[in-house]
């Protein structure tokens, strides 16, 4: 081969390589989080988190074109200022009817594996398809959504940047939305700063924190609220499904509706308590309007029939069937719960609607 041919082949070779690399490896989106969150995160191999993918996902998250009436987006029921909930008992979708459960906070989903109150969806990509096509939520087949986005001037180029070409497919829609959701990391609450030694809690916050993390042992005169048994750890999230004693017989059977097991009756996903002060009303059916009511529930009203073994017999009174906290202790736990509010998270411009800055 003469030198000219060599140069040409090398040039063509590096050019193809460049296109190939450019296609498959757009700039990664840095996911930063404290080491005490651990690295047990879920990112599918075929959907790495990239700058362009996250930006597309953010646009789609706030895109009403994805709904049958062009009025509802994910952001309608998941508002950033409320830690991605909507402040309603039940949310209304395109057909004007109400969802059967309370909207959930979207926070630190990077560490979650099973989604919804009953954990029925595995993985964010699979989860996203539910609200998009559910007739009571966005009510539009994903193929229709893809067709509508193809007509819109802004999307083909965004898909190209994210996935290498302008094809707008059903899978790419849910993949990009999931990439955006993985970036919704909350790790800058006063509690996080306390764990990093940069925030000094008040005496009542410290008392609440101790109660939150302590199992009551009335025989040993140890008082506690033991919330951490289910809501513990730096993320205040353990992926477990329990019955926290809301009803003797639950109208919404929770995971029992899926497994058919009576022992799963009224069991729901233990939600994260991050930003909990911002996400009222509470529980899968939004029955409590305030944290005071939540504390009253755990303290005095636990229904025993299907109650979680973690809560059964957990009490500050010997033989008690609920926690039996004093009014002051409830206040202390609530003070601690307020330490979980992350204002950096709810004001982060990277999470906001890109069309209304």
């Amino acid at each position: 081969m003469n030198s000219f041919a060599k140069v040409i082949t090398t040039l063509i070779g590096s050019f193809t390589l460049l296109i190939w690399v450019g296609k498959l490896d757009p700039a990664p989106y840095p996911l930063t989080y404290p080491s005490n969150f651990g690295n047990r995160i879920s990112i599918p191999q075929n959907n790495p988190t990239t700058q362009a993918g996250v930006y597309l996902g953010r646009n789609l998250f706030y895109e009403p074109l994805l709904s049958a009436n062009n009025k509802i987006s994910c952001g309608s029921c998941h508002e950033q200022k409320r830690a991605f909930t909507d402040g309603k008992v039940f949310s209304s979708g395109v057909d004007g009817t109400l969802t059967s459960r309370n909207s959930m906070a979207l926070v630190n989903l990077l560490w979650a594996r099973r989604f919804f109150w009953d954990g029925r969806a595995t993985g964010l990509e699979a989860q996203a398809a539910f609200p998009l096509s559910d007739p009571h939520e966005m009510g539009q087949a994903l193929t229709v959504s893809a067709a509508k986005l193809r007509q819109s001037p802004k999307y083909p180029i965004l898909f190209q940047k994210a996935f290498g070409d302008t094809a707008i497919t059903v899978n790419r829609i849910t993949m990009a939305i999931s990439q955006f959701e993985r970036t919704l990391i909350s790790a800058d609450s006063p509690y996080d700063r306390y764990l990093k030694n940069t925030y000094k809690p008040s005496p009542i916050e410290l008392e609440g924190m101790r109660l939150f993390n302590t199992m009551p042992q009335p025989r040993k005169k140890i008082r506690g609220a033991d919330c951490a048994h289910c809501h513990g750890g730096a993320k205040t999230y353990l992926e477990l499904f329990h019955n926290n004693g809301l009803d003797e017989i639950s109208t919404d059977k929770g995971i029992a509706a899926i497994t058919g097991m009576d022992s799963d009756h009224g069991r729901f996903k233990i939600p994260t308590l991050r930003n909990i002060a911002l996400t009222a009303p509470y529980m899968h059916d939004g029955r409590f309007n305030s944290l005071q009511q939540v504390l009253d529930h755990y303290s005095e009203h636990l229904k025993q029939k299907h109650l979680s073994p973690f809560l059964k017999g957990s009490s500050n009174k010997i033989g008690g069937t609920s926690l039996q906290l004093s009014a002051h202790e409830k206040k202390a736990v609530i003070a601690f719960l307020n330490m979980l509010t992350d204002t950096t998270f709810i004001h982060n411009p990277e999470f906001s609607n890109p069309n209304h800055p």
Binding site: R114, G119, R219, E239, L240, F241, H242, T259, G260, M261, D262, S263, D264, R267, S308, P309, K312, G313
Partner: protein, 169 residues
């Protein structure tokens, strides 16, 4: 006239009740545990199946310091019956296998195979189906892991519904 009506109504009601009842029964599933993953044959075990296997007992104190006797089958035997690589087969890459225990609430605990294999250790780990001779109640059963001499007990998983042998990667 009135009595026939009432009789008709009651019999209708009885029939309705009978059917609604049998429907519930048909829906209620028996709790069991599945043994799967790196096994030669997958198994499904119910608490009554375990009563037919050689049994081992371990006594243990609960939260309120009361002593209870748990009985069940040695975990090593369950894995052996499923054809998991134990004893002389537990070497080389098989030493990178682990057992993932999962409970119905999503709780997960792992053990290395050598921790479970009676050819390696005399410390007993059982898959208990009975506590003080009675089948485990729903909030503890169908099975509970009980580890002999365990000081801190979070690995004593309750409501165990699956045992999966996997390779660490």
């Amino acid at each position: 006239m009135k009595t026939t009506k009432i009789a008709l109504l009651t019999s209708l009601l009885t029939i309705a009740l009978f059917f609604s009842n049998s429907k519930v029964n048909a829906q209620a599933k028996t709790a069991s545990a599945s043994i799967k993953g790196e096994v030669k044959s997958e198994l499904i075990l119910t608490p009554t199946d375990v009563d037919k296997l050689p049994k081992t007992s371990i006594s243990q104190k609960d939260r309120t310091d009361q002593e209870h006797t748990y009985s069940g089958v040695e975990l090593g035997l369950v894995l052996k019956n499923a054809g998991v690589t134990l004893a002389e087969e537990l070497k080389g890459e098989n030493l990178t296998k682990y057992l993932l225990v999962e409970a119905s609430d999503g709780y997960q605990v792992i053990f290395s195979l050598a921790e479970i294999d009676p050819a390696f250790t005399s410390r007993k780990i059982i898959l208990a189906n009975r506590k003080d001779d009675k089948l485990l109640a729903a909030d503890e059963g169908p099975f509970r892991i009980i580890i002999e001499g365990e000081k801190r007990k979070p690995r004593n998983a309750r409501q165990v519904i699956s045992l999966t042998v996997k390779f660490a990667n």
